[in-house]
Amino acid sequence: MKIHQLSLFLENKPGQLVEPCRILARAGVDIRTLTLADTQQFGILRLILADWQSGGAALRDAGYVTNITEVVAVEVPDRPGGLADLLELLEGSGVNIEYMYAFTFGRGDKAVLIFRFDNPDRAIEVLQQAGISVVESVEVYNRIER
């Protein structure tokens, strides 16, 4: 249910993004989606990889500091109000969203979003009770049908 997200520390200066991408390329690890959080001084690159273990090892070998977090991939109806409905549901459950970002592709009429919750287990429970589909990790790592 939960998906492993790999984060790494970057300094906020030119050329910092290409190196980790090149390292992953050399390791033959595909990037499923990513987001970059940045401040004036540093950035945190968050990655969903096809193989987070090999990707993480390759980055650590190259001297990067990494962190593994469990996140949840959620299907959201791709229509006006789709996300708002979902957020309202979560709002009532006491689960906090630390941050979220989207996949670059969807499934039919659904978009797929990645959520970092403070309590992922509780979030999954709430979502499933409401009949919202949580994408299986295997599907995310392998390839979500387009």
Binding site: T39, Q41, R46, V65, T69
Partner: protein
């Protein structure tokens, strides 16, 4: 009515403190006799010292007065490293009952040895130290200096026990447990580094333990330079009286000098450790009261006599008598060392202060680098800190909080607003095992 020792004890007085009050002429007589004896012993048993004496054409009879000490060769830290492990011992191993080892930052460690008599001297100077800090029988002392090869833990331990206080030998680390013990046992005095105590106070705030409301009244702080502003913070935040103590393993460990309740410099236990203040460049004695490098000679140590040890610590003699009545001389609080001081906007800053602040926040010392620049005539100091896996988080807020904590800790330790930049691991240059700590890019014309 039975009167206990603690009721009769006046502030800072203990029978062991009697030598603190010896009249100067008598003290000088004792110092000269001891100096002559220790020089003879060192010459007879330590080949390094003997060869240096011979190079200068000096024999033990050439020390006729205390002033003659300036003719003797200096001992420097590298001498202790170069002769590791046994080279400076003046007693046979059968008489050595204790060894301490300090981790060298540049390779080989240094070792210090004690005979039974040396340990007795050490205990007595620590009793005098704690007594001057107002610790008496009946006090409950939490000793949070590290036990083991470091001299701090055992030095404070034996002193406090001999004084008749109750000692809790908790050693360093495990801050939450330290707070629990501090509260549950009604601890009245604590021995630790000032930066660790700062950390303890901060952690107390987080856990809702207000140290001001506990019976703790005395902090015996040493093993690193700390400032008057830090003293004010610690005293206000913890409701204690903070005392600065001084010592170094090469000489004996803690117990070389201590503040009394007047807080006007540190009294040197000069019946055992003869102090000089010299110009670090010319090696000549400075004028009375002028600033210079502290040089110490062990007057009574048997296992490892150390003659004219250059401490690299910068201080000055404090002139005049101390209101506390002690006749032994005072030195100014040591805020810096001759070899690593930086002056930033007129304030003296030491890499050691940066280290203690980083250590207090992160628990372990990350690799760091200090960069000094000058913008529009104003000095700017930035500390680059490598992000370690222990502190890295996927949340921006957590890293920003870490950064803020580091800025705050540096501000409190140094008294300057210092920029902190988190950098990628392994980006800070390392050379010859010891990291290059400072890059000074200040252009004085800018």
């Amino acid at each position: 009515m039975i009167i206990t020792a603690s009721e009769t004890a006046t502030a800072g007085y203990h029978p062991a403190s009697a030598p603190d009050y010896v009249p100067p002429p008598q003290l000088k007589e004792l110092q000269l006799a001891r100096l002559q004896y220790v020089v003879r012993r060192a010459r007879d048993h330590v080949s390094l010292f003997r060869s240096r004496m011979e190079e200068r054409g000096l024999g033990p009879r050439d020390v006729r007065s205390l002033e003659d000490i300036v003719r003797l060769p200096f001992t420097v830290k590298s001498d202790l490293r170069d002769t590791y492990p046994f080279g400076l011992f003046a007693s046979p191993m059968s008489e050595v009952v204790r060894l301490h080892v300090s981790s060298g930052t540049t390779g080989k460690p240094i070792v210090v040895a004690y005979t039974k008599d040396d340990l007795d001297v050490w205990t007595s100077v620590m009793v005098r130290t704690l007594a001057a800090c107002g610790v008496t029988q009946g006090d409950i002392v939490q000793n949070a200096y590290g036990y083991g090869l470091f001299t701090g833990g055992l030095g404070a331990h034996y002193g406090a026990e001999a004084l008749g206080a109750t000692v809790i030998p908790i050693s360093g680390g495990n801050t939450d447990r330290q707070l629990m013990i501090l509260r549950d046992f009604n601890v009245t005095a604590i021995c630790c580094t000032p930066s660790y105590f700062l950390h303890l106070v901060d952690r107390g705030h987080e856990l809702g333990v207000d140290i001001r409301k506990l019976p703790l009244r005395v902090g015996v702080f040493g093993a690193e330079p700390w400032s008057e502003s830090m003293r004010r913070h610690l005293e206000a935040d913890a409701g204690i009286e903070a005392f600065d103590i001084y010592g170094l393993s090469e000489i004996i460990g803690p117990g070389v000098a201590t503040e009394c309740h007047c807080h006007t410099g540190l009294h040197v236990f000069e019946d055992h450790f003869y102090p000089e203040v010299i110009d670090p460049d010319t090696c000549e004695p400075v004028a009375s009261g002028a600033e210079g490098e502290l040089v110490l000679t062990t007057l009574s140590k048997a296992a490892m006599p150390v003659i004219r040890y250059r401490t690299r610590d910068i201080t000055a003699f404090v002139d005049g008598p101390c209101p506390c009545g002690r006749s032994i001389r005072r030195i100014r609080r040591i805020g810096r060392r001759s070899d690593d001081m930086l002056i930033i906007r007129g304030i003296n800053v030491f890499p050691s202060q940066v280290e203690s602040a980083l250590l207090a926040v992160e628990g372990t010392l990350p690799h760091y680098h200090i960069i000094l620049t000058r913008e529009k005539g104003l000095d700017h100091m930035e500390v680059q800190v490598e992000v370690t896996p222990e502190v890295f988080s996927d949340k921006v807020g957590a890293l920003e909080e870490l950064q803020n904590k580091l800025v705050y800790a540096l501000d409190r330790t140094i008294g300057l607003r210092i920029a902190v930049r988190l950098v990628k691991p392994h980006t800070i240059p390392r050379s010859e095992g010891k990291a290059k700590r400072v890059t000074d890019q200040r252009n004085l014309d800018a």
